[in-house]
Structure formats: C-alpha cells, structure tokens
C-alpha cells in the first residue's frame, strides 16, 4: 500500500481538528468561559469587542498530545479606549473573577496569557488578551506581579500570523494540497517533539517556532500524478530547517536557536531559550534527518516504517509483513464531497 498510506494513518491518529468531537466538547466549555469573561469585562467597563480562536486550531496544525491533552487559544479583545494603561488588571479579572470562580485550581497569569487546565477533559485553554486600536492589536504582556518595567501592551498581529501560516499563494500548482501537506508536516514535527524530548525541554520547543521554521522551509513533494510524498517532503523540510541559519554555532557543539516571528512584533520566538534546549533541538532534528534519509533509501516497506516508528512513536504504525497472496479486492472509498466544481468541458 505504500509508506504514504502509513503516513495518512499516522496523521489521522494525531490530528485534531475543529470537526473532532473532542474539540466540539471543548468548544462548549470554552464558549461558556468566554461568555463569563465577556460578562465580567462588561461589569469592569472594558467590554469584549471581539474574540477569536488563534494558535494551532486556527492554522489547522493542532495535534492530540500523547497523553490526550490539547490546547485551545482563545483571544479576548477589548477596545483601546476602554483598556487600562496597566495590562495586568484585566488579566486578573479573567483569572480571579472567572476561572477561579468556575473552580479552576491552577489558573495562572502567564506573561502572554491567562491559562487554565480542565484536567477532567484533558483540555488546556490559554486566553491571550489584546486591546485593539483601529485594525491593530496589542497584547497584554506581564505576570500577576510584574512591575512597570515588565508589563506592557505590546504590538502584535495574531491574525496576520494566522494568515501567513495559512498562506498558499507561493505554492505553484494544487496549492490546497500543498498547504494540506504543510499542515501534516507541522503535525508530524510536533509529534516528533513530544516523542523525543523530555516534557521539560519539549515545552520549550515552541509549536509556533516549529511552525514558522517549517513554513519557511517547507518543500512540498508529490509524484507526477499528484500523490503526496510526505516522507520526501518532511525530509527536505527538515534539511532546510537545519541549514537555514536558525541554529547558531556557539562552539563546543553548542547551539543557539533563533526564529523570528514573521509579523509584528518580529521578536525571536526562542528568545531566552537555553543553549541546552537549542542544542538538543538542533541535534535531535539532525538525527531525525539522518533517519529520514535512511527510511527513504530503504526499499522494504516494513523496514521503512520501522524507522519512521522510531522517529514518530507508536502512532506511526508498522504494517504487517506482506501477505504472500495478492490482495485482489479493495473496498471502494467514496468522496466525502457532495460535489466539486470542475474545469471540464467539450
């Protein structure tokens, strides 16, 4: 059946999309909390003027974590005119007046957002807070007790970032399929991270960092008939990620990773990351590339998938040894579309 079939199964196993039941349930909780936030903000005289999903759900790159956890990033936006100069009090409202009252024991004001865990649902929700002036957004930066020097409203472009990640105009030919392949590659890389790094280090290999690197370096691969070749695509993409100047050699086989946001505030996503994190990131990526090369060179499908299983974990299945009898029938799988527009005429 080919290694692509195994990649497809792997993707089906790890992907999380807005259509999934688990997400729909989480959205109900998320919507309920968001409504409470809106009510609380209204009472505090800085009503919510907009809210939207950002992060991996918005860019179709969300995955199920190995432990089943997943994240939702819900942006809360208030008007510039109604926003206090100090960005922390509104975050406190989210944390103290809404989340704690709803029984979240571990809600926390982090530097870029307020966060809460639904342990019973394996759901983790982040609430980044913005104020909006005209069409521009500014993100509330600062922790609960940050002093004036460490808190601010910082220019940000969450929608621009989403659009940049979802942009397909640079893909020549079947751009939708190529964007879909990009989304799959990002999911594979995230799962690889979750597999290969300790929890402590892995959470510092930020998803947005992986996504931005992959977007810059994405090398789509399809055969002449248009069949996806995810193995080639991820190998080529990882190759470029290693050679694209993200990892700066610090001497003694130590590295420092720098990946800049492609939109305002154009900051280094890995600013503050330790050399250890960067070095592990670089070395494990390099190791993955070596294994991907090996998998490509391997003719035997089972051996090929065994290598990929080592890279991506058990959700990447190793097919059983090929049956000696030829499979003569294949079940017809019908299109899930009701109709598609075609360019055909005569």
């Amino acid at each position: 059946m080919g290694v692509q079939t195994q990649f497809n199964k792997f993707h089906d196993a790890i992907k999380l999309s807005k259509q999934d039941d688990v997400y729909k349930k989480a959205r109900e909780k998320d919507d309920s909390i968001t409504q409470d936030i809106k009510n609380a903000f209204k009472d505090a005289n800085h009503p919510v003027i907009e809210d939207f999903i950002q992060g991996s759900f918005a860019t179709d790159t969300a995955i199920l974590k190995k432990n089943g956890d997943f994240d939702i990033d819900r942006a809360i936006v208030i008007s510039y005119d109604d926003a206090p100069a100090n960005p922390i009090p509104p975050k406190k409202i989210i944390c103290d007046n809404v989340l704690e009252k709803r029984g979240f024991k571990n809600s926390k004001i982090k530097k870029p957002c307020v966060t809460a865990d639904y342990t019973s649902e394996s759901l983790h929700i982040d609430f980044p807070l913005y104020r909006k002036i005209d069409d521009s957004y500014e993100l509330s930066i600062g922790k609960r007790n940050s002093d004036e020097a460490n808190r601010r409203w910082e220019s940000a472009d969450p929608k621009g970032l989403k659009d940049w990640i979802k942009d397909k105009t640079s893909y020549w030919g079947s751009s939708v399929n190529k964007l879909n392949q990009f989304n799959r590659i990002v999911r594979y890389l995230k799962r690889w991270r979750d597999e290969k790094f300790s929890e402590e280090v892995g959470k510092k290999i930020y998803s947005i960092g992986i996504t931005v690197m992959a977007k810059h370096c994405f090398s789509p691969s399809f055969d002449d008939d248009g069949r996806a070749e995810d193995l080639i695509a991820i190998k080529d993409t990882v190759s470029l990620m290693l050679s694209n100047g993200y990892f700066n050699d610090q001497g003694n086989d130590q590295y420092k990773v720098s990946v800049y946001l492609p939109v305002t505030p154009w900051r280094d996503i890995f600013d503050g990351s330790s050399t250890n994190t960067s070095t592990q990131f670089r070395n494990k990526l390099s190791n993955m590339k070596t294994k991907l090369d090996k998998a490509i060179a391997e003719d035997d499908e089972v051996k090929k998938c065994t290598i990929l299983n080592e890279i991506f974990g058990d959700d990447f299945q190793i097919p059983e040894e090929k049956n000696t009898t030829t499979e003569n029938n294949r079940r017809a799988i019908f299109s899930s579309s009701g109709a598609v527009g075609t360019s055909q005429g005569a």
Binding site: D224, D225, A346
Partner: protein
Amino acid sequence: MNYQEIVNYLKEKGYAISFNSFKGIECIEVKVDFKYCSIEFIHFCSEELICLPQFLLKNPKKYGTLSHVLSYDEFDLASICIGDQDAVSVNFEKPNFAFKESLDRHISLIKKCLLDKDWNTKELLREFYSNWLSICGDTKQDLICASNADFGKMKVFKPVSSRAYGFESQHIGITANASKLAEFSYIERQKKNRINAGLGFVIPLDNLIPAPTTSNNIKNWYIDTISNVVLPSNILHAKEKVFWLIFNADTPSGKTWFGLHCIYKGKGKKTIPIKASLLDNWKIIPIRVKIFNKDRLMPRSGANISLDKKSVLVVGCGSVGGEIVHKLGAAGIGSMELCDPDIYSLDNIYRHVLQDIFLGCNKALALSVQLDSKYPWIKTKYRKSKLLELRKKDFLEQFDLIVIAIGSPTHERIFHDYIIKNKVNTPVINTWLEGYGIGGHATLDIPSSKGCLRCAYVDMEKGVRGLSSNLNFLEDNQSIVVNHAGCGQLYLPYSAISSAQTALIATNLAISFLMKSIKESSKISWKGDYSEITTLGFQVSHRYTVFDKSLQVIPLYNESCDLCYGR
C-alpha cells in the same frame, strides 16, 4: 547573382563551361563528354537563386526517349527532373556550391538514362502518369471514373454547366460494374443535373508503352497500344462519334489510370479505330483520369482502408465531438453513429466545425449530413439521445469503440458505472478540455485491460474515488465558467484551437486503438499555456506544474483505483 564567379568556380572544378546566348537570352552552357557522345546543358541566367539551378538538355531528340526528361520541341530543349525541388534546401548564400551540386545531379541522371537502358525504360513506365499529364491540355476534359479495373462499358456525363470547381465541374464516367462498389450511392448523387457526354470503355493494358513525350505523337502511341489489346466484341462493335477510352495498367509505382477522348469529325458514327489507316477524321485528345475507387483513393488521400469496417459511436457533437467525427471520417472509419440532443446555435459558430447553414439543426444530424457529403465511403446515423439514455448493453456492444465528448464528469462516471456493472465489452474513450487553453485530455478504457475511467478520477490526495479528474490542469472548485446572461447561459471559455487540439489527441487514441497499436487502457493530455489562467487568478493543479508528457500516450492504470487494483 554573380555568374562570373559561378562560372569561374565551375571551371576550377573542371567543367567545360562558358557564357552564351540562346535566342537572345543570356545563358551559361556546359559540355560534358561521355564515352561515345557529347552532351550540352544550358542554364538561363536569373536574378535570384530560389531553387536548385535548372539545366536544360540541348538537342534532346538525339538521345531517344529519356526518363525524367521533358522535351520542348519548338526550342529543341528539354527540362530534366532531378527530384522534388521542395525536398531540398538550397544554399542560396553560396550559389557556387548550389550550381555544382545541381550540375552534378543533372549529369548523373542523364548518364544513368543513357548508359542503363533497362533502368531508363523502367523509369519511363514508373513516371508514366506524370509524363501523360504533361501532354494533356486544359482540365476541361478531365474525367472522374467510377469503375474497377476490368473491361467495361461506361456512361460518361458532362460537368454541370457553370460549375468552375468541385465534383460537378468535371466529367464523370460510371461503368456498370461500379454499381457493385460501395461508393456507388455517392457517385450516383453526382449524376444529378448532368447530361450525357458519350460512351466510354475501361480498357486494362497488360503491356504499357511509355507515354509519348509530346501530344503530336499521341496517335502513334494509341495505335501501338491498342493493337496489342484483345478488345471484347462489345467494344469492337460499338459505333459512336465520341468515345472515352479509359486505360489502366500496372507500373512500378502502382496501377495508373489515364484516358483518351476520341472525337470523329466525319459523317455518321464509327467503331473505335484500331488501325492507323482508320485514324483519319479522328481527333485523339489525351485526358487526365481520376479514379474514384476506394482502394486507391483512401490511401492516396490519407485514410486507412483497414478502418473501413470499423464502427464507432460518438456521443457529444459539440466543438470537440464535431472535430473528432471529422478526424475519424478522415482516417477512414467506415461507419459512425452520432448522438447529441443539442441544437447548433450562433453561440457555437466560431469553435464548431459546422457551417451557418446548419443553424437551428440538431448537431448530430448536421454532422451526419456533413460527413456523408465529404467522405464517400462513410455510413452515418444520428440520434438525439443523451449519454445516459444509451445505457443499453446490446446497443453499445455493436460498436468497436465508443467516444464520449460531452464534458460532463457526473454523467460520464454514471455511464462508466453502467459499463462496469453490465460488463459491456466495448472500449470507451472519454475526452474533455479545460478552459482558457490550459489543456485537454482523453482516456481510453479497454475492458479487458487494467485501467479504467475511474483511474482518471482517483482523488490523488486522499486515494479515494474523486469527483473530478486527476488529469485536470486546473484546480477544483474555481469558478471557471463565464456567466454572460444569467442561469442557463454559463459557458466554459475556450477557443477552437483548444477543441481541435483535444479532438486530435482523442482521435489519435481512437485510431491507434482501432489499428491495434494501442492494446492497453491509456491516457493522453495536451498542455497549453498558463498565462491567461494566472492573469485571471485561477490556480493550476500540481499535475500541470510537473507534466512533461504532452501528446504522449501513457498507461491509464492508477494503483489507487479500487476497481482496477488487483485485476
């Protein structure tokens, strides 16, 4: 042209060449000595070198009848045919070389004619027809002959008056045995509005004498020829004032046909003159004969006679289907059934092969009429059915091939389902184009071979049955059609070039299959320019970006096709 330079060059190369004048016209003259004679060539000087320089043979009568040599008695010169001028590319930038090349060819040919008598005679017979044409006068006496090659009596009809061209502008001769020929109904139609032009006979010749070099020698040639033929009594005893004698004979280049128009100037009617003494008062005029015979005409005019027995059903008579049926007809397909419920309208006029006289007519009917009038041996039928109304196994299996050119993926897939479920064993070609000149495609689905229409519809991203073809060069779900006048007036923009190109690849597939040079399910695409598409903001498919097999026939089988996998 600098003739001094040319003459100097040829002198350097050892030719006996000099400037001269012939009847006051400047020329150069070349003398060549053979073992037992000397030959003189002349070349009339010209301003520009636009073909291989021509050298004429002086005093040609001295050498007897030579092949490839055409005499002009009044000047005692003869032209020499050294080959098809269009088949050579001449070095007009270096005329010296062109003159030497040409002169060498002239000399070599004449030497061969003089030294190899057998070859010369064989060549004279081989080129009989072209020599005959050279002695024929204007085209008024030309005759189209519907006959086989046996002895036969022939009715000859005059051209329709006032017709300057076309079939009706020429005499036609029909023998009794022609009624057994497939073309008879076609040729019979040509008799309309014509009057009798006299009696004719078809006379096969066993021993062909080389054609006379001038029309002055025609009577001698005729007597030499006819005296060697044992004529049937009905020819010997027929009396008329006008005879059309149509000869045929085998030559090294195949059977050749030519004729004589014999007119008696005396009183009363006479039998055919078979002796020199009987030729008085007879005017003998050499004429061109065009034989209207399937075995000769189909191959000569580009058709393949082996396709004459093939029967093809063509569904969809739009701009692509219209082109296809014409190309199939031109290839020599013997019978076609055309299906389309559509009416030919003004909106079709530029990209459809039909003329305006068919406006308002059913397209299938109009094309059927067109084909019948253009291709003499074709048999066509038409019906106003839609594709899905043709789902009848017995009906479909009477054809050697079904060609579907309707551009409707839904109906084509439904029809394909019927073919599969009912095990219809007739191969099917589906063909379609895409808008804005981006390309066109054709698939050949042979039931006994791996690969089917569904192979061309596998969704390559998901590996499932798709709704649009994976051969397409444009991405799905784009509003390609143009709406000028609201619902029901949508159309896909493409030119006649696109429809013709698409028809060509589809017909090529059809003919290759019917000729058995393709035995497996196949596909073929042509890829056009994308500039207009991208200007309009449309997206091309991945296949378009990598496709480099334009016009090449490649296997149709797709391993992700659930119908073909494991077959």
